[in-house]
Symmetry: C2
Subunit: 456 residues, 2 copies
């Protein structure tokens, strides 16, 4: 009955666990913006101290960017590596937040209590579910459940530039029997889910240069090239009328869904009208010959995530700008090669430039898609543990977001990974008013305790 | 020989005239940005005081926006109204300025001395040429040359929202024999020019709304509508492959150039390769069946002056934004109707929206094109005065920029207007590092003295 004791410990100490999460959420660890470098460092320090309080040999490990947190503890098999990330997305547009994104608060909502803050769901709340499960376990048993390595990253939201070198340099130290990655969600808010298919990501920034300075649109308008027009025309041609992407070679490595997976997904009865309706939309906007679930889990995308050119302040300025730029990201599936797509995209842009325009490019990281091997016994143990805690069977699902770490663990450490998490679709991750349901935090901790009981 | 005395007075007092201009340039009177409202007011106060020092009955006149400066002085015919504007364009991108835009400096350049500051050429330096000519005249003669009304606006760079009501309410007070408008330039830097054809302007801001909040491009990408794509596609369709504008009815009221004007413009031998080459361009980008001079003087345009959507800061954010927006301006010619084009543009945008997107619009002012009547004797007097000062015949030219005031004087006061000025193509008006050549300031003052001698 030691599991019951651990679960009871989790239930009675939940307020203290929540206080710890609040403390971590107060640190604005935005990794993509250099202005928050010291805050990222502070978040790492906080986690090192917390892991040390659990008996881990924990340290902040420097990288050229933000530090990694690595901790070792426990004995006995299996050797589990747990991965999460302590960095968070930027908060703009700040005006759309109901409160300070870094002043977390427990709020009552019609759907229950939520933890409101940037990073509550992505990924601080999720990573703390595992640490709190260990804390309860140790309070009951006096020891950690098995040999454990904790590996927490601070650059997940900014393309993970330091990750691969760090894995390569520390492969022997980090290699475990399996990696547990907690950065995903429940399916349709209620069904526990284990992700076996992840999209990759390529980020490109493109700047179109025309005149060597901003021009007066009266003096030059109608004669001089406008780089906003050039950029808009190129971006408009990135998709054809049926939603397919027109960049040459883009679909190389994209394969059709296996029949077994297609059948399983059909059983999931995804309600795309509700999914879109919840955010004020109605029409699937992607490849028109694909199902909505394929569009978000199994098909590649090309999306403009930001565009800027000319005068965008209050009022009006009749300017023909010297340049215009856009941030474009590609979600990748199957064996699509980020490097090949980057090269093809850049050539495709250059091929469309008028003779007196140039384009410059900045890469913002790239990673291929991941397809999980589900042969390790941890998968079936997790399905059972999740099913017991949530009262319905766990599903193997896809994930439209890009969590390249699973692929990196396989490539650089030869280690399989299992992704499970407790986020909900309405968590507003990457958006204003991000939240994490208190129920998800609580049952997430209990889920890990159940899984550790089965594996230890 | 009183003209010689006035010209000599101008020459010997040039340093003091320059000091006065510098004082006016130090006031950051950016009319489009509400943050500079007090500065606009301060510029008006400065001009009132300067006009009073010349013996004018001068006052700052309130409007719902920035104040007008109106002054009356002198006796005898003809009754001349002089118009200029004391407001200036915004200064962004500030990083491209070599010095503080509102800390004016006289600088040596390979082409001679220049006055460097925002507003040096557009329009503070130009309007001061007239006031300095009056100052020299008064120093020599003891009186002003004739009956004069000075009318200085503070909203020219932000669509002149208060202008028409002010003209209507004060029509009897402002009506003169002819208006002199100093907000234009020399032709190809050397030939004095009188503008007889001005393009109109319509400013529209369009916002495309898709989801009701920003979305994660992993979770929603490929399924949810991206408003940046919608906006880019619409803007890309605004011109066809030959540079013509595709908005229905856009060309109504656009007529072919009269043969006499076409012949005169051919004689001007406009060097478009140099004009474009000076700003780093090479190819005329507008309607491909038109000459470069037609493109900038006699043909309408549709230009995106600003575009903004999604995340545009450092790094990358994988967001599908809730909205994207653009500022679009149209230069108008002939009898094109700004209201009709606004309505047609908005309907054309709405017709292209996917079912789950909406568009909202903000108008930023509109004015039709102006075609001057050159029958008033002031035109030939000005041609002669300018020819004497600059050593070559003055030309009747077009102007691609929009100076709607001439049309308003005609419509609301029944008064003809004559536009002449001393700016040069490389003055970088509306751009970083705006300047006004000291030679233009000096000879501009002398030009007005010569014209006043002929008219008084």
């Amino acid at each position: 009955m030691s599991l019951d004791a651990v679960l009871a410990q989790i239930d009675t100490t939940l307020p203290a666990a929540l206080d710890r999460l609040m403390a971590l959420l107060r640190i604005p660890s935005i990794s993509t913006d250099p202005a928050f470098k010291a805050d990222c460092d502070r978040a790492a320090d906080w986690l090192v101290a917390d892991l040390q309080s659990l008996g881990f040999d924990a340290a902040k490990r420097p990288t050229p960017g933000h530090p990694m947190v690595v901790a070792h503890g426990g004995t006995g098999g299996p050797h589990l590596l747990f991965y999460g990330h302590y960095d968070v997305q930027p908060v703009d547009p700040l005006a759309l937040w109901d409160r300070d994104p870094f002043d977390p608060q427990l709020q009552d909502t019609p759907k229950g209590q939520v933890i409101r803050a940037r990073g509550a769901s992505d990924d601080k709340g999720q990573l703390m579910t595992f640490l709190e499960a260990l804390r309860a376990w140790k309070a009951v048993h006096g020891t950690l459940p098995c040999r454990l390595t904790i590996f927490l990253e601070g650059e997940e939201e900014s393309g993970s530039p330091s990750l691969i070198p760090f894995l390569q340099e520390n492969a022997a130290e980090l290699r475990a029997d399996i990696a547990l990655i907690c950065d995903t969600g429940l399916f349709q808010d209620t069904a526990p889910a284990i992700v076996t298919m992840l999209r990759g990501l390529l980020g490109e920034e493109i700047t179109i240069h025309a005149a060597n300075k901003d021009l007066h649109s009266g003096m030059f308008g109608g004669l001089a090239r406008n780089p906003i027009h050039v950029l808009a025309s190129i971006l408009a041609r990135m998709h054809d009328d049926t939603g397919h992407i027109t960049i040459p070679g883009f679909y190389e490595g994209v394969s059709e869904l296996p029949d077994a997976i297609r059948a399983q997904w059909q059983n999931l009865a995804f309600d795309h009208a509700k999914f879109l309706g919840d955010v004020g939309l109605s029409l699937p906007a992607g490849e028109q010959d694909r199902t909505p679930l394929e569009m978000i889990w199994a098909r590649p995308t090309a999306e403009v995530n930001g565009i800027l050119g000319g005068y965008t302040g209050d009022g009006f300025k009749t300017v023909l700008p010297a340049q215009a730029r856009a941030k474009v990201s590609f979600r990748l599936v199957g064996t699509q090669d980020p490097a090949a797509i980057s090269a093809s995209f850049r050539q495709w842009v250059r091929d469309q430039l008028p003779a007196d325009c140039t384009a410059t490019f900045t890469e913002h990281g790239g990673s291929p898609a991941g397809v999980m091997q589900i042969t390790h016994p941890a998968f079936e143990a997790a399905r059972a543990a999740l099913g017991e805690e949530w009262g319905r069977a766990a599903a193997y699902v896809g994930c439209g977001g890009s969590i390249p770490i699973a692929g990196y663990f396989k490539t650089h450490l030869g280690m399989d990974a299992m992704l499970l998490g407790f986020g909900r679709d309405d968590d507003q991750i990457h958006s204003p008013n991000e939240k994490y349901d208190l129920e998800c935090f609580h049952k997430g901790i209990r889920s890990w305790a159940r899984l550790l009981e089965k594996l230890a």
